[in-house]
Structure formats: structure tokens, C-alpha cells
């Protein structure tokens, strides 16, 4: 096993009932990179993302075959799902802060891990909000309800909330599709800063976004991984005909 990789995915298959949503996926994701997953709707990219922190477990009638390794640990057998999700955080398509104060949103993860000391929590909250580049906007009003913030702020709060559990990986499921262009840009800049310390896997519909921020890009089609390469190569010299057709906009 090569532990230079954050994730090693070996012959992964996934079924919703009888429907084969992912077919024989093999993929290594490197540490401290941004990996973009692209492809048309229903191609399996989001499903693939959700297997990385086992969010798919919540779906009924699902069957997973093959193996996924986080470092050297098999995420289905060597590590419990709670620990996995603390290490592999997730940011969703719709900003989904809890109906609580900004402070309580960020402190939630650490509190659920058993941290109760106020001074420690204060420090985690401030550090996480700073990392998510939203501290300056909210520092005077941590007691305010998170739902009163704008959509872009809510999404950065959700990123801060994820950072507070001290993950290794951040999964982002179309994190900017519900946001305006300026908020989108802020999230992208943030992702570029965060890859210094974290590994980021991002699902996006937006190919410009993939080419702007990602190091590697994976193109999915009908549950198969068609092409996985350096982003610059994939968008300029795609090896597969289907990739070329997709990135030139002939379908999707």
C-alpha cells in the first residue's frame, strides 16, 4: 500500500437496488491537492464523492463492492464511520448551517467529540472561522443565528464548521452551485488556500471552475471513470474521445 496517497480506490462498485451507479472505479487521490470530479448529471460523481465518507450509508438498498483506503486504512473495515467522517469532512450543495448561533455551528463538531472547555472551544471556533476567511465578517456577532447570514457566508460557515473537527480531507459537493459569482470566487480562493493543509475533492458542474482550481480532474460518465489526469492535460489534450466531446460541450 502506498501511503503517499490520501485515498486509494480499488475496483469500487455501487448499486442502488439493481441499478449499477458506479462501475469498477480505480483511482488514487494525492495529498494536498484539489481533485475535481466532473461529468453530466447522473454520471455518478456525487455518488462517488459520498462513498469517500460513507454518507451513502444513509441511503437504503445500497450495496458497495471493492475497497477504499484512507491512507492505509480500509474505510469499511479498519475505521468506524464516526471517526471517518471526522477525518473526511463534507460541504454540501445547499449551504446547510444548523438553526443555531454562528458560534454553536462551528463548536458543534468539537462538542460532539467531547470537548467542553470554553477556552478550547473559543480557540477552535476563532481558528476555524479565520481559516474559512469569514472571521472578519462575523467576529462581533458570533451569537447571531447562522440562518440570518447570506448564502455565501453560510457556505463559508459550513466550511469553517467542517474545519473545526480537524479533518484531513474536505469533500465538496457542488459547493458553489447555489451561490452568486462573487461568493463563488471567494469559495474558490478559499479552496486554493486550504489545499496547503488539506486534501480537497470537489464535485462541480462548472468546467471553468474545475480548470481554475483543481490539480487533477476525473471525468465520469454513466458510472464509469472515463479519464483521470492532470487538469491541464485533461482540458487541453484529452486522451478519450468522450472526454473531448464533453469538455467541448457536445453533450452534458
Amino acid at each position: 500500500m502506498n501511503n503517499a496517497y490520501e485515498f486509494s480506490v480499488k475496483d469500487l462498485g455501487l448499486y442502488y437496488g439493481d441499478f449499477e451507479a458506479l462501475k469498477h472505479i480505480n483511482m488514487d487521490i494525492e495529498k494536498n491537492t484539489i481533485t475535481a470530479l466532473i461529468g453530466p448529471s447522473g454520471c455518478g460523481k456525487s455518488t462517488f464523492l459520498k462513498t469517500l465518507n460513507r454518507m451513502n450509508d444513509l441511503v437504503e438498498n445500497i450495496k458497495v463492492t471493492g475497497d477504499i483506503f484512507l491512507g492505509e486504512q480500509n474505510i469499511y473495515t479498519d475505521i468506524d464511520v464516526i471517526t471517518l467522517r471526522q477525518k473526511v469532512g463534507m460541504v454540501f450543495q445547499q449551504p446547510n448551517p444548523f438553526p443555531k448561533s454562528i458560534y454553536d455551528n462551528v463548536a458543534y463538531g468539537p462538542r460532539m467529540q467531547g470537548i467542553t472547555k470554553k477556552s478550547v472551544l473559543d480557540e477552535i471556533v476563532e481558528h476555524s472561522l479565520r481559516q474559512a476567511a469569514i472571521w472578519d465578517e462575523v467576529k462581533g456577532k458570533l451569537g447571531k443565528n447562522a440562518l440570518s447570514m447570506s448564502g455565501g457566508q453560510q457556505q463559508r460557515l459550513c466550511i469553517a464548521r467542517t474545519l473545526a473537527t480537524q479533518p484531513e480531507v474536505i469533500l465538496m459537493d457542488e459547493p458553489t452551485s447555489a451561490l452568486d459569482p462573487i461568493s463563488t470566487l471567494k469559495i474558490e480562493e478559499l479552496a486554493l488556500q486550504l489545499k496547503e493543509k488539506y486534501t480537497i475533492v470537489i464535485v462541480t458542474h462548472n468546467m471553468q471552475q474545475a480548470s481554475r482550481i483543481s490539480d487533477k480532474t476525473a471525468f465520469f460518465l454513466l458510472g464509469e471513470l472515463i479519464e483521470y489526469n492532470e487538469t491541464s492535460n485533461l482540458f487541453t489534450r484529452p486522451l478519450q474521445k468522450k472526454t473531448e466531446e464533453y469538455i467541448t460541450g457536445r453533450f452534458g
Partner: protein
């Protein structure tokens, strides 16, 4: 060209039907409103037109004790039905697997909610009075009424949890929280406004309950407000004492009472009961509106 296709008479007829139906529904609504207001005003008038303060006294000549019993019984009943009902609701929304068991459980709860209250009263009499060998008492009444409240609180809780945005649950699981942590720290607090409404409506229903209490809480009340010993059968706070509620008092006063002003007392009780229920329902609305605004950061 269009003139040939559109049948002018059909259009006219559609418009006429539309106006007719609009007026029709306004009339229906008007009739209901008129009926409700008439009853409401009649009860209030009959209750209060000869009002004097001694009628509310906390002794045998007033209905103060019955008023106290009514509210105390509601509180006792909610102490049982709220936690049990909420747990049942949480189970159905979050733990039960969809299937036969859940369907049967739901059917039982629906049946329970449409059970005639006299049946619940007789059941309560059998279980809480005869089988325990106790006299009529408030606790037995509260338990009997809880049976009637449970379905409402359970189904409100289930609905409240089910209608929460899926993002709350995903967000919490995504941060590595366990199922119970998610329910306790995220889902329940977010669902509380709606659950509160169910609880207060259940309380409102309890206020007017009579049949379920007749053979459980009893039809007499003998309270000494000077009593300091909670185990004494005349201590107002002792739940193991018989306690007639306002609704039962009305029933008693109009069927078997011998005193001269029984009719007036019954009317006053009815008026007060009506106001009490009104206050409960209005506060349910206000509280849940406030909580909803609060939890959405307004």
C-alpha cells in the same frame, strides 16, 4: 378565426358558475362563523351576566377549586404524555424501519386517537382504580387523559421531525456526530416549535375532557388550602386525591345538583372553560410563531 373557435356562451357560463361558487362558499363560511359567534357570545353572556366574585371562591360555594383541579390535572397529564409521546414520535420518525411493524403501530395510534373518551374512562377506572384498589384520584385521571393525548403528541413529533430540511441531518452526520447526537442536539431543538403546538393543543383538549375523568378523577373535591401535608387527602397538591374538574362540575351541576344557583354556576364554569381553551390555543400560536422566528434568526 378565434371568434369561431371560442364559444361565447360557454365562456359566459363558466364565468357565471365561478361567481356563483364564490358567493356560495362565502355564504357557507358566513353561516359557520355566525353559528360559532352565537354560541360563543351566548356562553359568555350566560356565564357572566350575573357574575359576582364569590362565585370564583376556592370553597364549596365557588368554582375556584374546580378551576385549580382542571389546570393541575392538565399539568399532571402532560408530565406523562409529553415525554412518552415524544419518544414514540422520535421512534417512528428516526428508528422504525418502514414495513409492517410501523404500519401496524401507526394504525394503533390512529385508532387510539379516535377512541371514545368514555371507553378510555372505563379502561382507566378498571386499571388505575379497581386494579390498584385506590379511590378516585387526580393521578388516575391524568393517566387516563394521557391515553387520549399520546397520539396527538406522538404524531406531531413525528411530523415535525420528518419535515425538517434533510440538510440538518446530513450536516450533522457529515461532522461525525452519532444518530442520537444528531437527534438530541440538532433535530429536536429545530422541531420544538411544532411539537410545542401539539402539546398545547393536547392540553386544550384535556381542559374540556369529562367522560374520561368521571370514573378516574372522580366527581367530588374537598380541598383545604390550609393543609401543609402533601400526603393529606385534602391537600390541593396531593395528586392522590379525588379532584373534580370544571367540565365534570358542569355535568354534575346540570344533572344532579340540588343547590339553588347550580345553573348559574354551571354557566359560569362553561364560560371560564371556554376562555381557558381560547387562551391555550392562542398562546400555542404565539409561542410557536415566536420560536420559529427565533430559530430562523429573525
Amino acid at each position: 378565426m378565434m371568434d369561431n373557435i371560442v364559444n361565447k356562451n360557454a365562456l359566459k357560463r363558466a364565468k357565471a358558475t365561478n361567481s356563483f361558487m364564490t358567493i356560495f362558499f362565502y355564504i357557507i363560511a358566513g353561516i359557520f362563523l355566525f353559528l360559532l359567534l352565537t354560541i360563543f357570545i351566548y356562553i359568555l353572556y350566560a356565564g357572566f351576566h350575573n357574575f359576582s366574585l364569590p362565585l370564583l371562591a376556592f370553597n364549596h360555594s365557588g368554582i375556584g377549586n374546580q378551576l385549580f383541579n382542571t389546570i393541575y390535572l392538565v399539568v399532571l397529564a402532560l408530565l406523562f404524555s409529553t415525554p412518552v409521546g415524544m419518544l414514540a414520535g422520535i421512534y417512528m420518525a428516526e428508528y422504525a424501519k418502514p414495513g409492517k411493524l410501523l404500519t401496524i403501530l401507526r394504525m394503533c395510534i390512529e385508532t387510539l386517537s379516535s377512541l371514545p373518551s368514555i371507553v378510555v374512562g372505563l379502561f382507566g377506572y378498571l386499571v388505575f382504580i379497581v386494579m390498584t384498589g385506590m379511590q378516585w384520584n387526580l393521578l388516575a385521571g391524568a393517566l387516563a387523559v394521557s391515553i387520549l393525548n399520546l397520539p396527538l403528541i406522538a404524531s406531531t413529533t413525528e411530523d415535525a421531525l420528518r419535515t425538517l430540511p434533510i440538510g440538518y441531518k446530513q450536516g450533522s452526520y457529515g461532522l461525525g456526530a452519532t444518530k442520537w447526537q444528531t437527534i438530541w442536539h440538532i433535530l429536536l431543538p429545530a422541531a420544538i416549535p411544532q411539537i410545542m403546538t401539539g402539546v398545547i393543543l393536547a392540553a386544550g383538549r384535556t381542559l374540556g375532557e369529562a367522560a374520561a375523568l368521571m370514573f378516574t378523577a372522580g366527581m367530588s373535591t374537598d380541598i383545604s388550602w390550609k393543609s401543609t401535608d402533601i400526603t393529606s387527602p385534602t391537600n390541593p397538591w396531593n395528586p392522590i386525591r379525588s379532584g373534580e374538574t370544571l367540565a365534570l362540575y358542569i355535568w354534575g351541576a346540570r344533572t344532579e345538583a340540588l343547590n339553588m344557583n347550580a345553573e348559574q354556576m354551571a354557566n359560569l364554569s362553561a364560560a371560564i372553560l371556554l376562555l381557558l381553551i381560547l387562551v391555550f390555543n392562542l398562546s400555542a400560536r404565539l409561542i410557536s410563531k415566536y420560536l420559529v422566528n427565533y430559530s430562523q434568526g429573525k
